[in-house]
Amino acid sequence: MKKLINSPESVVSDALAGMQALHPELLRVVRVDADNQIIVRADAPVRGKVGLISGGGSGHEPMHGGFVGYGMLDAACPGAVFTSPVPDQMLAATKAVDGGAGVLHIVKNYTGDVLNFEMAAELAEAEGIQVASIVTNDDVAVQDSLYTAGRRGVGVTVLLEKIVGGLAEGGASLAHVADLARKVNDHGRSMGMALTSCTVPAAGKPTFELPDDEMEIGIGIHGEPGRRRVKLAHASEVTEMLATPIIEDLGLKAGERVLAFVNGMGGTPLIELYVVASELAKILKSRDVTIARSLVGSYITSLEMAGCSITLLRLDDELTRYWDAPVHTPALRWGM
């Protein structure tokens, strides 16, 4: 296992110490108990503002800790690598960011995340804090049916945290913030693929083996195998495999505008993401869909996995306005 770490046990807390040391103006890392910490916006709680918290396993950096700051999240709860955080963290985060207007829990649809956030919400409400939850489920690789735990929450989560963060900054109510969160989730779809597996530090070896001439299509973000394994293909074909199900599921029509998010899984360099972006632009152009906004980079990752995901978000004026709103976090910054 080749990693820049001190030990599998300390990787999360060491990385949090690094965030604290390099971004003291944006966030503070707060100890919840012996094993757990949370990342809280430097000026939290902001009076009268709905608090936004999210969380999930570590190993997806910059999500979520890298999105804590003005115009995005108020706190993030990092679990062990690929393991949902525990309710204690979510409760502590909820309390830390409640400025009296209630708290939105942004939860990616994985059984672990959902169950832990559920327990935390019960505990927070018992303490008199108003909590609303949005469960993101944008991954078209998984069928939302009785026979699955539902679609996974992936790339849309990042866009949602930004857009809803923009609204919350203006002092909107919890109900309004939760409504916009549902709208963003409804307007976006994603799909991902992997060229290589990744290695959970505590496990010490790759989660799955992938022959040199094969790739996984329809992966999540936890080093899980995907829906199917196929032979390596050109970027143009890979992009087609990801984009077509998204476009069809969203029912994108000629003349519509989207935010195109080409995301790296952690080990894929930017040059390859731009190759995928170029293929995606061709596909959208052929359908007369306009890329009105874009995001290219590794924002929701699976450790050092090589691969990418594509997220398309149908834009209207409201979503565009809050996407463009100022943001200042370690990983996303503009307008200030």
Binding site: P85, L115, N116, A141, A203, T207
Partner: protein, 209 residues
């Protein structure tokens, strides 16, 4: 002889040892159909439980199990944290104030735990989860209780049924948890949560043998 608080503590300690020994195995089971952390999660949780045990060692069984449950909730994370946490919390409610557990108490305790898992996880038998180990275990214990088989035998039959249930998850198509994302690819693999459930029931049978 009934199960005492001392037995309970020995049981929990044994679980911690067994899960630590099976850390790699459970993680390996979680790799093809999950995210390869189940053994790590359970080991982390029961390590924390062991640290907490001295504070409750002299209390009633319900109090011991409550500490196990809250500690698992607070330290395991993932799907198994809230599920096993809820299971032990429900078991603690079923054994609240008790210093002795007889056959019927054990059945009652497992029944409460299983109901907790099913409610929290919205899970039914046949979905390739821990429920598929716990459900036949409960049925076998109930039967043993009706047959007055005695506590040791009751626990052994429960453990054996859990093992069979665990093995029976192999051909199942997962419809809950991470494994459900794999669709047909989930078939042919043993569920890690069912496996840890069996290991815990086996630890109980071994403790009271």
């Amino acid at each position: 002889m009934p199960i005492t608080p001392e037995d309970t503590v020995r049981w929990i300690r044994r679980i911690a040892v067994v899960l630590h020994e099976n850390r790699e195995y459970l993680t390996q089971l979680d790799s093809p159909i999950g995210d390869g952390d189940h053994g790590i999660n359970m080991d982390r949780g029961f390590k924390a439980v062991i640290d907490k045990l001295p504070t409750v060692a002299n209390m009633d069984i319900g109090s011991i199990l409550k500490t196990v449950g809250t500690t698992l909730v607070s330290t395991v994370g993932g799907a198994s944290g809230p599920l096993y946490g809820t299971a032990f919390l429900r078991a603690s409610m079923a054994t609240s104030g008790k210093h002795e557990l007889y056959e019927a108490d054990v059945v009652h305790m497992l029944e409460a735990a299983l109901e907790g898992v099913k409610a929290r996880g919205k899970a039914q038998p046949g979905e390739k989860t821990m429920v598929d180990a716990l459900t036949p275990a409960l049925a076998a214990m109930k039967e043993a209780e009706q047959q007055n088989a005695g506590l040791a035998r009751l626990l052994r039959r429960g453990s054996d049924a859990a093992e069979a249930g665990m093995k029976a998850t192999i051909p199942l198509l997962a419809t809950k948890g991470r494994a459900s994302y794999l669709g047909e690819r989930s078939v042919g693999h043993q569920d890690p949560g069912a496996t840890s459930s069996w290991l815990m029931l086996k630890a109980l049978a071994d403790t009271c043998a």
